[in-house]
């Protein structure tokens, strides 16, 4: 076992008794000591009262992580991350510690909520106000749970699913993103703390959109989130992740893993709006968002649709992907990535066509402003068996100002002659003519920019579920504040 110097100090401070679980850290503590070692992995697993098979899985991942190197091929640059300089477990904060009402919340934050059009009770939730004091959100959650239970849908934290539905979790966890997949996914497999588990039974159309909003019992577990969604034969679910409100976190590194499994005739619509704190205008203090998301379309006629609006984070590194295994399966990727100031984004998708008559559509819109860099990186591969399959890709980049960069790196690999791949990309700057036209009709510079950019992103934004779409449009405009003139 290896200890960081920190842990060693803590150990001697606690009088050095080896605890009955086989590690030293005090099980009662709310915060694990800094550092990452086998001890901490066991501590996390014990804190969550996990069965042995899951602990073993985590440990295998941890062992593997020790042998891996951080990937460097992305077009993102950041100071070296000291993986030993972070806490890998922190108990959820009690709401009693939070602000008592919105009056106690930073007015700048409230102004952003207003601009985004977020309803009052949601603002309270986001700001961490003890909601039961002001608004009875508990009853909302209860009604919600009743409806889902009626349909047989399971939607709970993954830690609960491990105990209540171990056979499902054991069957599918790590089957789409194996623990050895890549550096960050492996890290996540070792130390993930929570996330969503969703199971939609055969033939069921989930009666409402599932959203992370509704998991009221948690806060601040976003660091190493692990999500697993299973859509059984003929089922449908629409899942929303994230929110338009800017979210801060003391933890700088976010490495989430999302696995989607689709059986015959199933459909999953997964929408993300991400606005993690991007850092100040000099790029300091922003969040690093390294995410692995993958959908396995195992069943025939299955369909998955990834829609994302990424406007936050100092660094975004994510490639939601689809493995199109089942014949006739369909993968879609709609993305808007906006970078401003000093943000960097290297994002895109991978569509791997394995089955016959599979099809994929990629519409990626990148907008760079300030001194930011935005890269689209995509892979479309037709394997030899993907007869009759189709891909259409459209990636467009818009540059605002002359200090930013937009890059496109698509890989197109075709091994079947009846499969067809079509890729188009354009890069241009925001048109002076368009801005002038709008302004001559009375719109301000910023209003004109927001309108033109929203028009540019329209094809993507219209894929979002309605309430998200409205907020996303406002978010697009806000993210570009200060970029013109």
């Amino acid at each position: 076992m290896s200890y960081s110097a920190d842990t060693a100090d803590q150990v001697s401070a606690i009088s050095g008794d080896k605890y009955k679980y086989g590690f030293v850290t005090d099980i009662e503590s709310e915060l694990a000591p800094k550092g990452l070692n086998e001890d901490i992995v066991r501590f996390i697993s014990a804190k969550k009262d996990e069965p042995d098979w899951l602990l073993k899985w985590r440990l295998r991942a941890y062992e593997r992580w020790l042998t891996m190197e951080e990937p460097t091929w992305g077009k993102v640059a950041y100071p070296e991350i000291d993986f030993q300089d972070a806490h890998y477990y922190a108990a959820p904060k009690s709401k009693d510690d939070g602000p008592k009402s919105l009056d106690e919340v930073d007015p700048e934050l409230l102004r952003t909520y207003e601009k985004l059009g977020i309803p009052l009770h949601e603002q309270q939730m986001l700001a961490g106000v003890a909601v039961d004091a002001v608004f009875d959100s508990v009853s909302v959650a209860t009604t919600f749970r009743k409806e889902l239970a009626k349909a047989g849908v399971i939607f709970c934290p993954i830690s609960e699913a491990v105990k209540e539905h171990p056979e499902l979790v054991q069957k599918y966890l790590g089957s789409v993103v194996p623990y050895s997949d890549n550096f960050y996914a492996t890290l996540n497999s070792a130390v993930f703390t929570d996330g969503s588990f969703v199971y939609i039974p055969k033939g069921v159309r989930c009666p409402m959109e599932l959203s992370t909003y509704f998991r009221i019992n948690e806060a601040n577990t976003g660091q190493f989130e692990r999500t697993l969604i299973i859509a059984d034969e003929g089922s449908y679910v629409s899942y929303l992740e994230g929110c338009t409100a800017p979210q801060r976190d003391e933890n700088q590194l976010h490495a989430a893993v999302v696995e989607l499994v689709l059986l015959d005739d199933a459909e999953i619509k997964y929408s993300t709006v991400q606005n993690w704190y991007p850092g100040d205008e000099h790029g300091n203090g922003g969040i690093y968002n390294f995410v692995t998301k993958r959908a396995a379309c195992r069943g025939r006629n299955s369909k998955v649709s990834w829609t994302q609006v990424e406007t936050g984070s100092a660094i975004t590194w994510k490639y939601p992907s689809c493995i199109l295994q089942g014949d006739n399966s369909v993968g879609e990727f709609y993305s808007v990535a906006i970078t401003n100031n000093m943000q960097q984004a290297d994002t895109g998708t991978k569509m791997i066509h394995i089955g016959k008559n599979t099809s994929s559509t990629i519409i990626a819109k990148g907008i760079s402003a300030g001194r930011s860099q935005s890269t689209y990186r995509g892979l479309v591969r037709m394997q030899p068996g993907a007869a009759g399959s189709r891909n259409y890709t459209q990636c467009d980049s818009l540059l605002i100002g002359d200090k930013c960069g937009a890059h496109t790196v698509p890989y197109i690999e075709n091994r079947n002659r009846t499969a067809q791949i079509e890729h188009e990309a354009t890069t241009a700057k925001i048109s002076e003519d368009q801005l002038f036209y709008c302004r001559q009709r009375g719109l301000t510079d910023e209003e004109a920019l927001g309108m033109i950019v929203n028009g540019f992103c329209k094809k993507v934004l219209q894929e979002l579920p309605m309430e998200f779409a409205v907020e996303a449009q406002k978010l697009v405009a806000i993210s570009l504040e200060g970029s013109v003139g």
Binding site: I412, N414, R417, H423
Partner: protein, 424 residues
């Protein structure tokens, strides 16, 4: 071959070895290559092409001649022929303001010009294969045009190879406002008795082109290497203000081919048109690499590469357009289309854009798949048998890039070769 062996045994036997600046240039190049060796597939630019097969053939001597020399492709051309590495054509009368000679001859006749320009192309100097070429090269062609000279006669260079490792190093210097058309023909002598296919040759050529203000250079490459040969050709072009570069690569032969074209648009209003066709069958592998670097603003570039892949062949296209932060007001467009004709052929295409300026209009498009069914149906519904309909559509597909060749005679030659490939 370690740098020590190179310096002691190989370098002294090269033409021009007594020129100290050249010895230094070669020695540094050899050291650069020795440091990295041949690139492997972990290197991003080589992810689709495996060079292990040529590793043991890099230092083989070229023995004997290249076989029967075919007639010139173009009427009235100024021709240089290299047969298995040796310049076999004699002196010819040249128009005023034009110098066309072998590189080895130039080392005696015009070493100062070489000293000023050889190995100066930043884009490729550090790369392993051009470095190896610089160290090993014995000969090549050099074409120098004085300012204002329009060379009406096309320049035709034939590299005819049979065996060993060949390293042509070529240099084109076009003075301000000059114009020229160059055809580089790489041909393999296939039917040498007693030779087994695995003994076939390796060719690693580098052509450096410097175009001064307002010069126009048209370069056409016809690659018909022997069936088991490996062909690696790198072109590095620098264009000053208003200079124009039109390049067309026709890749038909060889077992392994790698065609790299690097263009630096260094002056305002410079323009480059890079087109190409790759026709592959059996187990051929052809990797087309382009780097179009918009260094200066108000520059323009166009690319149109098309391929037909049959049998087990493997085509690759890696085209990058980069735009530097101060290169405003530029336009860069790229198109790559490939038709897969068999169940086992494969295409990997990576059209890349790296853009740091904002006042730009850039686009790229790539398609990979088979012939459009609607077109086939239409022709067949008019009574044309399927095989002929396919031929017509494939020819039309290729014609769209062939018609961008501005030299009529060259176009006719290329059309003929393409038709011949399709007919067999």
């Amino acid at each position: 071959m370690t740098p020590d062996i190179y310096n002691a045994e190989y370098a002294p036997n090269l033409p021009g070895s007594s020129l100290p600046w050249l010895a230094d240039l070669r020695s540094k190049a050899a050291a650069r290559f020795a440091a990295t060796g041949l690139p492997n597939r972990k290197v991003e630019e080589w992810r689709y092409t495996d060079l292990r097969n040529i590793k043991d053939r890099l230092y083989m001597e070229q023995i004997g001649d290249g076989g029967k020399i075919p007639p010139a492709l173009l009427p009235n051309s100024l021709r240089l022929v290299f047969s298995n590495g040796n310049l076999v054509t004699g002196e010819q009368e040249l128009p005023p303001g034009v110098r066309l000679l072998g590189m080895a001859q130039a080392m005696i006749a015009a070493p100062e010009i070489l000293a000023d320009h050889l190995g100066r192309s930043d884009a490729v100097r550090e790369m392993p294969l051009p470095s190896l070429n610089q160290a090993m090269s014995r000969d090549g062609y050099i074409l120098i045009l004085e300012a204002g000279i329009t060379l009406e006669r096309p320049v035709e260079i034939l590299f005819l190879n049979q065996s060993g490792a060949s390293y042509p190093r070529n240099l084109v210097l076009a003075g301000a406002g000059s114009t020229t058309t160059i055809v580089e023909h790489y041909l393999g002598a296939d039917n040498m008795p007693g030779k087994s296919p695995s003994d076939s040759y390796v060719l690693n050529a580098v052509t450096e082109i410097h175009a001064e203000a307002g010069a126009t250079i048209r370069r056409y490459k016809i690659q018909r290497e022997a069936a088991a040969a490996s062909h690696i050709a790198t072109v590095a072009t620098q264009l000053a203000d208003n200079a124009r570069f039109e390049n067309f690569d026709l890749n038909l032969g060889g077992k392994l081919a790698r065609s790299e074209v690097h263009v630096a648009l260094q002056g305002a209003e410079a323009a480059a048109i890079l087109n190409g066709i790759y026709l592959l069958r059996d187990k051929q592998h052809c990797d087309n690499v382009i780097h179009m670097d918009h260094v200066a603003g108000a520059t323009n570039s166009q690319q149109d590469y098309r391929g037909l892949l049959d049998d087990h062949s493997h085509g690759v296209f890696q085209g990058k357009i980069s735009v530097r932060p101060d290169a405003q007001g530029i336009e860069g467009h790229q198109l790559n289309k490939t038709l897969l004709l068999s169940d086992k052929s494969e295409i990997d295409s990576k059209p890349e854009l790296q853009i740091l300026a904002d006042d730009v209009k850039c686009s790229h498009g790539a398609t990979a798949g088979e012939l459009d069914e609607t077109g086939l149906f239409y022709l067949r519904s008019r009574g044309i048998p399927e095989w002929e309909a396919r031929r017509l559509l494939m020819a039309a597909f290729l014609a769209q890039t062939l018609e961008k060749i501005s030299d009529g005679d060259v176009r006719a030659v290329m059309d003929g070769m393409v038709a011949e490939w399709m007919g067999s």
